[in-house]
Symmetry: C2
Subunit: 231 residues, 2 copies
Amino acid sequence: MKKIAILGTGSVGQTLASKFVTLGYDVILGTRSVSEKLSDSTKDSYGNPPFREWHAANNTVKLATFREAAASAEVLVNATKGAGSIEALKLADLKSLKGKILIDVANPLDFSKGMPPILHSELANSNSLGEEIQKNFPDVKVVKTLNTMWCGLMVNPALINGGDHNVFLCGNDSDAKAIVKGILKSFGWHDGNILDLGGIAASRGTEMYLPLWLSMFGATGNGAFNIKIVS
Amino acid sequence: MKKIAILGTGSVGQTLASKFVTLGYDVILGTRSVSEKLSDSTKDSYGNPPFREWHAANNTVKLATFREAAASAEVLVNATKGAGSIEALKLADLKSLKGKILIDVANPLDFSKGMPPILHSELANSNSLGEEIQKNFPDVKVVKTLNTMWCGLMVNPALINGGDHNVFLCGNDSDAKAIVKGILKSFGWHDGNILDLGGIAASRGTEMYLPLWLSMFGATGNGAFNIKIVS
């Protein structure tokens, strides 16, 4: 059975987990503290129900610590909040995990200056979260993808425009990118709509797109949109 | 006769000037020094021929100082290099020009760290060129638009995908945005493809999109592309 570990239990992690379950994966979700996560009865900052309600309805998904989750699979997903991703990946002991693939779907949003969020200044323009993760964990193959859209579209591109719109990926390892591309195709992404932007430094572009995404979201009032490259 | 002043004589300024001429405008281009500009026989950094060759072939376009150009029209275009825009607009004496519309099509690209360029750090993330211009010249109505694509598409959207792709605009003055929208429509932009992102702070998003644009340009090798929002 194919295994995947998803670090982060928010709506992005939950959405990805549910999709991987339907695709027949053995899914393990990583969190800081299993007991705290399962006893937490508060809604998240977006008003979503507590994790334990989702987990009760999706009980084939295992919950474990970041470290246990990361150790259990060869392909990992970073779905933690971007501001805390490096810290979470340190807890996951990513340094010891040579050769594993890390699919980074997070964005380094900074909500501390009010809404709409900006990007963390040390992770923007001349740097990015994708690059920072790769620098901190050089033995892990980081592939940045899916961070340019609402999570409902990540796993179900057919929801809009017959699935005809674009997803980007970048990373320094070609084999890792090929595996991630296979996963994207299993989500329903058309081969020709998956645009490889090159090395992990291209994370800057896809992360810096977020303020425009937020503006478009504000103007249209609906997250179920994406961009399609036309030429 | 409708008048328009374009500040900046590079390929963007030239492309816009030619289009406005075909639309029947009286076009005046602003530059730092008319005599220096006309005596310059060097190609620009992109390998384009010197301005005077273009000007010889487009001799209905007047060339003047930034200040004379800005004084001559009610609608101005900032097509200077983003890194020097504030300085150029000070030379244009924009402070004295109450109520005029400034269409800002520039991006604050910083080439000093090598290629691809990044954004000027003081004009990104928590600020933008569009906002900085508006702050420096509060009596001018700044409308940011057209900065998300190759200049050939700005004035000829029909070049790709039957003209069906998106252009953004933002600014604090609704009447100014309506006038600029009219200009965009005269360029061939479909009404439904012009997305108003709100106030001038939305410049952040459209300027921070540039690194992704540069990545897509690098991946596709052709500037004649744009994005279309699908939902």
